[in-house]
Amino acid sequence: MAQFKRVVAVDLKPALLDPEGEAILGVLQHLGFPVTDVRVGKRIQVTVSAEGPEAADRAVAALAERVLANPVMETFQLQPTEGVPR
């Protein structure tokens, strides 16, 4: 089986307060940047063995849903993998 790299972005749900983002927003505004919102997320790169690119997408979606993101408070997205070897 071939190796496939995928990037998973994990973000807090939009409705949820992001205390870390709020803290960064405060600092940026203090510095005079015209910022009105900051949200902090995680970017996780995984390499999986799979039969093909579609199977790799499915495998990564499955592990992201079960482990990488907590559906109570987070969402995840498989990001475009430009620059990342497929």
Binding site: P19, A23, R66, L68, N70, M73
Partner: protein, 225 residues
């Protein structure tokens, strides 16, 4: 007949919990997370920073093989108690509803708080009992989506709420911004709370309400002497 206190890499309240239970006459043993505890009559998931709290607090421990063992025991009705990081692990594992996010204040809160019993689970801990217990956490703000919140309320899964010394509940007595002032939850035999009863189990520690809570819990395991 004994209570197993699980030890994950990064647990740091395991010996405190074992000592507090042993002082109450409970037969207790520390169990490394890779070892078997299938014969346990009760399981404690102690506080700390399991697996460095990487990814999210409790997230990696919640997917470790030991949790399959906890799940199997819970399915048989064996009492399970998660304290602080242990509570986070139980929520991440789906054994308790919702999740624990970063405190509203953004600060690590280390303080003594009052909690009120909302579900009577043993003699000696009737509804309305107020305990004074220490908390120490950054991710202790209980969160859930609206349907879950309604179900938790309807099913009586709120075990403890933050309150004032007189038992009254308001935002002023909520140290972390938890929804519905939740400090602890219960679902069948599985219970979890953010405060640390084992840190309030001897007068020299500043309080003994934790010993009362642990006595009530241990009475459910049948292991107390």
């Amino acid at each position: 007949m004994s209570v197993a206190v699980l030890v994950f890499p990064g647990s740091n309240c395991d010996r405190d919990a074992a000592r507090a239970l042993a002082r109450l006459g409970v037969k207790v043993r520390l169990v490394w997370h890779r070892d078997s505890f299938r014969d346990a009559d009760g399981v404690v998931l102690p506080g700390g920073f399991s697996y460095g709290d990487y990814l999210r607090s409790g997230a990696l421990a919640a997917h470790s093989p030991a949790i399959d063992g906890v799940r199997a025991l819970a399915a048989r009705g064996v009492p399970v108690l998660g304290i602080c990081n242990g509570f986070q692990i139980l929520c991440e594992a789906g054994l308790l509803p919702g999740a624990l996010g970063v405190n509203r204040s953004r600060q690590f809160r280390c303080s003594w708080e009052h909690v009120r019993v909302e579900q009577a689970l043993a003699e000696g801990a009737p509804v309305g009992t107020v305990w004074h217990l220490p908390i120490a956490h950054r991710e202790g703000r209980w969160l859930s989506d609206a349907p879950t919140r309604e179900r938790v309320r309807g099913d009586g899964e709120v075990w403890l709420r933050y309150c004032a010394a007189d038992g009254s509940v308001s935002d002023a007595s909520n140290p972390n911004g938890s929804l519905d002032h939740v400090a602890g939850l219960v679902r069948a035999s599985v219970m979890g709370l953010m405060p640390h009863p084992e840190r309030a189990a001897e007068a020299v520690l500043g309080g003994t309400d934790g010993a009362r809570l642990l006595t009530a819990w241990a009475s459910r395991t049948g292991v107390a002497s």
